[in-house]
């Protein structure tokens, strides 16, 4: 095979798509690589949340009564509202991916804005819950934890609250990062970057957003909906 045939072959390629990075052969390879990259990242995230959930579960088995008591201190209505809000945001995110595939510029923008809006509502409700916990003296720490209603269980209730704030806090940080990404994507969608040939970034953004939602789907029952099943011995 001589050089000339190679170059002739190279010339047969259509002109490069503006978003094709030089080290990929074509948009298909780029799409596959970035999708796999996000899945790998989410695998890491599963282990990240999995670590703290594992610790949570060990103490839940050790202290069932305190866990039930502490979960009863959570406002489950707020948690339920937030669960619904997030599920709707997942729907609008999926619709944004669909709109970008179909090349509907305004549709993509509207759906991304709605997703951002629901994400914002979630964070607002979460912030309200946090402020209530502070007032109730439920934030863990020598000075801040002043909850006395059941002194026998207080240390373990504090332990629960430590997990509550660690897990919901990490989840909220992921939501804030997701909101930041959404802002950037809204700008790109408005500019008309996405279309039937190039929608991989929106799809990958969607993967991330759905993952963050799923984390919440686990956190909600684990933190809000525990009944003292272990409390009725005989």
């Amino acid at each position: 095979m001589s050089d000339t045939t190679l170059h002739a072959h190279a010339d047969e390629h259509p002109p490069h798509h503006p978003f094709l990075q030089h080290h990929f052969e074509d948009l298909g390879q780029q799409h596959e690589a970035s999708t796999l990259g996000m899945w790998m990242f989410l695998t890491t995230e599963i282990l990240f949340f999995g670590g703290v959930l594992c610790a949570y579960w060990i103490y839940r088995v050790m202290y069932p009564a305190a866990w039930a008591e502490a979960a009863s201190l959570q406002n489950w209505q707020m948690g339920a509202i937030n669960t619904i809000v997030l599920i709707i945001s997942s729907l609008t995110m999926a619709l944004a991916v669909r709109a970008s595939q179909l090349g509907q510029r305004m549709g993509t923008v509207v759906m991304l804005v709605l997703t951002l809006l629901f994400g914002g509502i979630f964070l607002g409700v979460k912030g309200y819950e946090y402020s209530v916990h502070f007032h109730e003296g439920l934030f863990p720490g020598a000075q801040t934890f002043t909850w006395h209603e059941n002194p026998a269980l207080a240390p373990q209730v504090q332990l629960f609250m430590a997990f509550y704030f660690t897990m919901t806090g990490l989840h909220a940080i992921h939501m804030v990062i997701g909101a930041g990404l959404l802002l950037w994507f809204i700008r790109r969608a408005w500019r008309g970057d996405f279309g039937p040939e190039y929608y991989a970034p929106v799809e990958i953004m969607g993967l991330y957003w759905h993952f963050v939602d799923i984390v919440w789907i686990f956190l909600f029952p684990f933190l809000y909906l525990i009944h003292s099943a272990g409390g009725h011995h005989g």
């Binding site: 050790m62 504090q158 430590a162």
Partner: protein, 551 residues
């Protein structure tokens, strides 16, 4: 010929052409580069600096241990020395060294790719490394930390009055650097292989880095969340790991070792990959049992996740779980042994070329075997209780980490140096350094096996007088080792200016990296290669060379 030849056996390439080094000039062209080869050079410089820093703590400790009395350092300072030595060497040297330097440079070229799938993320991972190192240096300058590199609770959360949060934060950030490296490697190996480069044609270095990356992705986030809980606990005074309010310090140890035992394989698997490359190149043979060696890497990565509690035998875990973990720890030795047997079988009846990389790898095979077998001693419950927390443990993991990983890294940097820089180093000085490293290493650490077996505990600055002779031997060995490590800095640096031009393939080795010029052009290959041969197909190459000579 109708297609690319089976093996490109060019001995000389186009000299003086543009390559990744002279493609652009200026500090910014390096600091903002997305070229994997330049990022590898950035890592080479920064990791070498961290190695010298970590080594200097070791030197101070070895000087202190010349005499039984604690006369040079206070016990508090000594605590900081071994802590900082461990943290710097593990998080900033051993974990990134082979993947981030050699892997970064060689992996895309071995795949026939222009770059990694995510060049910007590759650069980001270097910046994260630098940020973590900067936080670490800040901690060192402002007073250090004294918990040991394991940060055991409740000492780290309640009692230590040193910079625990700072240094665990640095470890947290360094972890993300390593996750991003692993992510990039996996995606690149899956999606960026050249046409014709099937999985079973991949060099074993690629298989090893793939297995390493799996461990990086799955284990590192658990360390990250553990350190988050530790920092949160120390910051607010809550007690996830504090027994006084219902927490469990042993849980911390479980979570820490769930990462840190697999992390041992992050450090040793790439070294095994280098060993396979070098053994093949300097015996001119196919690696015996290629598929066994390839899959044993994945086997080690998998089994490595099931043995963490062998670090907790005396921490109060139940006898039954200790028995299971002891059994599983024996099991993990099997894939490592498969590798050693296959390298040995490759060497059998081969005409071995005694070049510097091969010297290091012969040292690697022997020392890693000693390190591995003494690991089996420690996995045995009864013996572990006897030698727990003694110098036996110290000697064991230095045989694996220094005798294994560092030797293999030195082999790899010598093997690929001509490709990276385009220049040959001085073979005489290189062989001398390899000899000094081997002798110095054994003199440093073999006495520590005996010291440990006799009962000298680790992590004390003073010891019983009867241990002095062996300690003096160890310090003498460390001095030789230090000279052995300093020499390459000199002659490798020297070669950059005065070294002989290397040409395309100075070793006459098979592999895509030996078909492109040295140093490689910015996009690695003039045209994307098409692979039609197996890895290490030396028999076919020898035949091809013979035919060329006959013509």
């Amino acid at each position: 010929m109708s297609s690319l030849t089976l093996h490109d056996v060019r001995i000389t390439g186009a000299e003086g052409s543009r390559n990744y080094i002279n493609d652009e000039y200026g500090a910014l062209s390096w600091l903002l580069t997305k070229d994997h080869k330049r990022i590898a050079i950035l890592y080479l410089i920064s990791i070498t600096i961290m190695f010298l820093l970590g080594g200097s703590f070791a030197v101070i400790m070895r000087v202190e241990l010349l005499t039984p009395e604690g006369d040079l350092l206070t016990s508090d300072t000594y605590n900081k020395m071994f802590t900082l030595h461990g943290i710097v060497m593990i998080f900033f040297f051993l974990i990134p060294v082979i993947p981030a330097i050699l892997g970064n440079f060689i992996l895309p070229i071995q795949l026939g790719a222009k770059d990694f799938a995510f060049p910007k993320i590759n650069l980001l991972s270097w910046y994260l490394y630098i940020f973590a190192a900067a936080v670490g240096l800040y901690v060192i300058i402002t007073g250090g930390v004294d918990t040991g590199w394991t940060f055991y609770t409740p000492f780290s959360t309640q009692y230590s009055n040193t910079h625990v949060i700072g240094v665990t934060f640095a470890g947290f950030i360094a972890g993300f650097s390593s996750i991003l490296t692993g992510l990039n490697f996996i995606v690149t190996i899956h999606r960026m292989r050249a046409p014709g480069l099937t999985w079973y044609r991949l060099p074993l270095f690629v298989w090893a880095l793939y297995a390493t990356s799996v461990v990086m992705l799955l284990a590192t986030p658990v360390l990250a969340i553990t350190l988050v809980m530790l920092m949160f606990e120390r910051f607010t005074g809550i007690g996830i790991f504090n027994p006084a309010i219902g927490g469990d310090p042993v849980l911390y140890q479980h979570m820490f070792w769930f990462y840190s035992h697999p992390a041992v394989y992050i450090m040793i698997l790439p070294a095994m990959g280098v060993a396979s490359e070098v053994v093949a190149a300097f015996t001119r043979k196919k690696i015996f049992g290629y598929r066994f060696v390839a899959f044993s890497s994945l086997g080690i990565a998998f089994l490595g996740f099931l043995v963490w509690a062998h670090h907790l035998f005396v921490a109060g875990i139940s006898v039954y779980s200790a028995l299971i973990f002891a059994f599983l720890s024996f099991f993990v030795a099997v894939p490592s042994a498969i590798k050693v047997f296959n390298w040995t079988a490759t060497l059998y009846k081969a005409s071995v070329s005694w070049a510097t990389p091969m010297l290091y790898i012969l040292g690697f095979i022997g020392l890693f075997t000693i390190g591995g077998v003494t690991g089996l001693f420690l996995a045995a419950l009864g013996l572990d209780i006897h030698v727990h927390d003694t110098y036996f443990v110290v000697a064991h993991f230095h045989y694996v980490m220094v005798g294994g990983t560092v030797m293999a890294y030195l082999a790899g940097i010598h093997y690929w140096w001509p490709k990276i820089t385009g220049r040959m180093y001085n073979e005489f000085w290189a062989r001398l350094a390899a000899l000094l490293v081997f002798v110095g290493f054994n003199l440093t650490f073999f006495p520590q096996f005996i010291l440990g077996y006799l009962g000298m505990p680790r992590r004390y600055h003073a010891y019983a007088p009867e241990f002095q002779v062996l300690n003096v031997m160890s310090t003498a060995g460390a001095s030789i080792l230090a000279v052995g490590y300093a020499l390459p800095l000199i002659y490798l640096g020297f070669s950059l200016r005065f070294g002989r031009k290397a040409g395309v393939n100075p070793w006459g080795a098979v592999g895509l990296e030996w078909t492109t010029s040295s140093p490689p052009p910015k996009h690695n290959f003039e045209e994307t290669p098409v692979v039609t041969w197996d890895a290490y197909d030396y028999p076919a190459m020898m035949k091809a060379v013979g035919e060329t000579q006959n013509v």
